[in-house]
């Protein structure tokens, strides 16, 4: 099959079904075995404001949702005006002529279709306008209409036969219009790709499923954009595996319940965004000092305070690493792709159980609400770890919950079995008795900190390095920017200027040895991140005493490949 790589952007007013149409198209393309990668932008309000959904589909590997749009579907004038600049030269505009006047660019290929009129006049239902639109573009670009129909049935079947019939009519009406009234004169034909063994997930759903596969059987959360899908998914799925998921009164309660559940012996998790993480900070300290495993997912959004609830940012690195009073070690991980959201959540649970400490997983809106095609997981390779449990012999000999040991680990008692102890937020001695002696505090701080080393065992999970190791120009990054950086590095390679790239997945403790190896021959190191202060740059500068070249934008949107390339060329 010929190589297909297509970027479609749908834009319109929030409430017109933009996101929902984009999701359905994405699912359909994934079921037709295409690799997909998406990006969405929507206002914090449910109605009003502009929404957009971008989908890239390809039968080759893709790492981002793409910079230049091949096909823009604009549902109104404002959507056209806002997004027309992103259309590549000679790109295609699909629009409703009653709503949009596309005169500002003469290079475009124009396909007009009266979405609104078809919905209102023919179907007497304005709300199916987005489905009429899907029918039109599916027909125009040979997207899998049968798969679309299948997903529409799954998604809207529950709403009753009447509504479903209307939706299916709308889909076919759109397709029929395109067949009969639009003269296609572009080469884009998606069709069916080859291969199987693929599935499409959002980052949030991947995290929820990863938690279930890791053995998580307790979840407590509070709704917050853009992390709510984790709560919603686990409310549905947790009872199926005999676990408990609960929505509670606030984020403080959520993490408190997780601490309680972990004390009672369950693998437990909460998920939130920045405002919730801020509220949870004191409780992270409790988990650290009582040495209980737990996983806390932070789907970052632009802050501070309420900030921009629906837009991405990587601004919570500092609070993730350092949030809390006193010396408060915790493990911090950052997934870079949807697939990694799944595997790294499992890894997060393993590290939490292994080290008996909180693990923070820093995702972000762009990653968590993005759809990506991933390979169906190979469950036979999944390896789960459990906390070191106290034995009845140890209890008989005189159990010390916080015994000082060479690696810092001491066995945990679990209620319901012998091994009673008090988990205390007060500094305690080895016998869990409050103790305010400086030497004891020193020893306990060392014990809690030493356990971090146990996270450094699995190098291949803690970072990813690619490119030319002999290059004096390097890029160090973290989190969801990996995809655009990979595409930029491939472009540089094609120009004979391949950089050396290091993506950090374990951010605390840092994979120090690898960073030192990486920096050994570097003259210039660019650090791209989506926050105003350049938080990873701060960290690297203070830990490794070199001056990084930061590429930073305050959050709101992900980087484009072009932005990474431009900065790389400047720094290189």
């Amino acid at each position: 099959m010929e190589k297909v790589d297509l970027v479609v952007r749908i834009a319109g007013e929030s409430g017109e079904g933009i996101i929902s149409a984009g999701e359905i198209l994405t699912m359909a393309c994934a079921r037709a075995s295409f690799n997909v990668n998406t990006f969405r932008a929507y206002p914090a309000e449910v109605r009003g404001g502009q929404s957009m959904f971008q989908m890239r589909a390809s039968n080759g590997p893709i790492y981002s949702a793409g910079d230049d749009v091949d096909i823009l579907v604009a549902l109104n004038q404002e959507a056209f005006d806002r997004h027309v600049a992103s259309l590549r030269n000679g790109g295609i505009l699909v629009y409703d002529p009653a709503e949009t006047n596309p005169q500002s660019r003469s290079d475009l290929l124009l396909y007009a279709a009266p979405f609104k009129e078809m919905a209102v006049r023919t179907l007497q239902a304005l709300q199916v306008k987005n489905i009429v639109m899907m029918g039109v573009i599916a027909q125009l670009f040979a997207m899998p209409l049968d798969k679309l129909e299948e997903i529409v049935r799954e998604k809207f079947g529950r709403k009753g036969q009447g509504i479903l019939d209307k939706d299916l009519q709308a889909l076919n009406l759109g397709a029929q219009y395109a067949r009969e009234h639009i003269h296609k004169c572009d080469p884009f034909q998606l069709g069916q790709a080859e291969g199987g063994g693929k599935m499409v997930l959002s980052g949030n759903v991947a995290i929820a499923l990863g938690a279930l596969c890791a053995g998580c059987r307790f979840f407590a959360g509070y709704p917050i954009t853009p992390a709510s899908e984790i709560l919603e998914t686990l409310m549905v799925e947790m009872p199926k595996v005999d676990g408990v998921a609960i929505q509670v009164e606030d984020e403080i309660s959520a993490l408190s319940m997780v601490v309680g559940a972990s004390f009672a012996g369950k693998k437990a998790m909460t998920a939130t965004s920045g405002p919730g993480l801020s509220l949870m900070v004191e409780m992270i300290g409790l988990a650290t000092i009582v040495e209980l495993p737990l996983v806390l997912v932070d789907v970052q959004r632009a802050g501070p305070a309420t900030g921009i609830p629906t837009k991405t940012e990587q601004g919570d690195l500092f609070i993730g690493l350092f949030g809390g009073h006193g010396d408060c070690p915790r493990i911090v991980l950052a997934p870079t792709t949807v697939e990694e959201c799944f595997y790294q959540t499992i890894y997060a649970f393993n590290l939490a159980e292994r080290t008996q400490m909180p693990v923070i997983l820093l995702a972000d809106q762009a990653l968590a609400q993005r759809y990506e095609t991933i390979s169906v997981p190979d469950f036979s390779t999944l390896f789960l770890e459990d906390r070191l449990a106290v034995t009845s012999e140890e209890v008989a000999k005189g159990y010390q919950r916080y015994r000082l040991t060479p690696n810092g680990l001491s066995p945990i008692g679990t209620p319901g079995r012998p091994g009673a102890y008090i988990a205390r937020g007060l500094e305690h001695n080895e016998n869990d008795v409050p103790n305010y002696d400086q030497k004891n505090h020193q020893a306990m701080c060392e014990k809690r900190d030493r356990k971090l080393d146990l996270a450094l065992q699995d190098e291949h999970l803690n970072f990813e390095r690619w490119g030319d190791p002999s290059s004096e120009f390097g890029i160090i990054g973290w989190g969801s920017t990996l995809g655009v950086t990979r595409e930029a590095s491939l472009a540089l390679k094609a120009e004979g200027q391949e950089p050396d790239v290091l993506y950090l997945k374990l951010l605390n403790p840092l994979p120090r040895e690898e960073i030192v190896r990486f920096l050994a021959n570097k003259k210039r190191v660019m650090v791209p991140e989506i926050n105003y202060t350049g938080q990873l740059s701060w960290l690297l500068r203070s830990a490794f005493l070199f001056e990084p070249a930061p590429l930073k934008i305050a959050g709101g949107r992900p980087f484009s490949v072009a932005e990474i390339l431009e900065k790389a060329k400047e720094v290189r």
Binding site: E249, G260, A264, P377, Y421, I422, A423
Partner: protein, 279 residues
């Protein structure tokens, strides 16, 4: 084998001031545990921060001495994770109604089967004598030097109005009655709340043992504890006198009951099957 009170004494000796009301509550708890013959390995005592929150260390069971105000959500997490455990939550009025006040109504309405004992001394003791959410209006303390400007919370009124299924009031100067109340509270299926008048002998020179001894009275003759509006009327009409006893008791499905019912109706699957279902 039945256990005596010695079986429940923890490795620490209480650190409270001599004469503290909390001793009375602690002794009543030992008596109640022994009467119910609870297994310490199956018990978890959760507290927040404050003088009274030191209590888990004085009991031989599992315990969590946590953060200020967070005892209730931690305890609910414990109980949801393992419903077989006997979970007891203890703390003071500041922990319950000031810093932790946001959790209390939700614990009441959620009706998870645990027992919450608040040692109410109407002052902050551990931080040395500041005004508390249950302090009387115009009460003078180091942090209300010109008198308290805020109307106190009535713990029992609060619990009743947000749907607690067991509400009782005891006095740490009446050990036998308090023991009986605690036994009933622990036996109750659902969220039980026991407000314990527990004087601070060091910082509260107004609401003393003598103060309460002069005011506490039994419930009215023929009082029926199954009517919420009647219980509310009783506690809201109290002026000089304070009634002790079980103010309200109701059998309502617990959170766990509803969860079990839901669970029974949902087909089970392995995590792997749930992943593959996303295809």
């Amino acid at each position: 084998m039945t256990r005596d009170v010695q079986a429940y004494k923890g490795k620490l000796k209480p650190t409270w001031c001599p004469g503290c009301g909390d001793f009375g509550l602690l002794n009543a708890l030992y008596q109640a545990f022994a009467r119910l013959d609870l297994d310490p390995d199956q018990m978890v005592v959760v507290s927040g921060i404050g003088c009274s929150s030191r209590l888990p260390g004085f009991i031989s069971s599992y315990g969590v001495h946590s953060l200020h105000g967070r005892a209730l959500p931690i305890a609910q997490g414990v109980k949801l994770a393992n419903p077989k455990l006997e979970v007891l939550v203890v703390g003071g009025d500041g922990d319950a109604f000031a810093i932790g006040g946001g959790h209390f109504p939700h614990a009441c309405r959620r009706n998870i089967d645990l027992t919450y004992v608040v040692m109410d001394n109407r002052i902050y003791g551990l931080t040395k004598g500041q005004v508390a959410p249950t302090s009387d209006l115009n009460f003078h303390t180091v942090s209300s030097p010109y008198g308290n400007l805020e109307t106190p919370i009535s713990p029992t009124d609060f619990a009743l109005s947000v749907g607690a299924t067991f509400v009782a009031r005891g006095f740490s100067g009446k050990l036998d009655q308090l023991t009986d109340l605690l036994v009933e509270a622990i036996k109750h299926r659902g969220f039980s709340f026991v407000d314990v008048l527990s004087p601070c002998v060091t910082f509260n020179k107004v609401n003393t043992f003598k103060y309460f001894q002069e005011r506490v009275i039994p419930l009215p003759e023929g009082y029926q504890a199954n009517r919420r509006h009647q219980a509310l009327e009783l506690v809201e009409s109290e002026e000089e006198k304070i009634h002790l006893g079980i103010l309200y008791r109701e059998e309502r499905p617990t959170y766990q009951d509803l969860l079990d019912k839901l669970d029974a109706s949902i087909p089970k699957a392995s995590p792997q099957e749930l992943v593959l279902a996303q295809k």
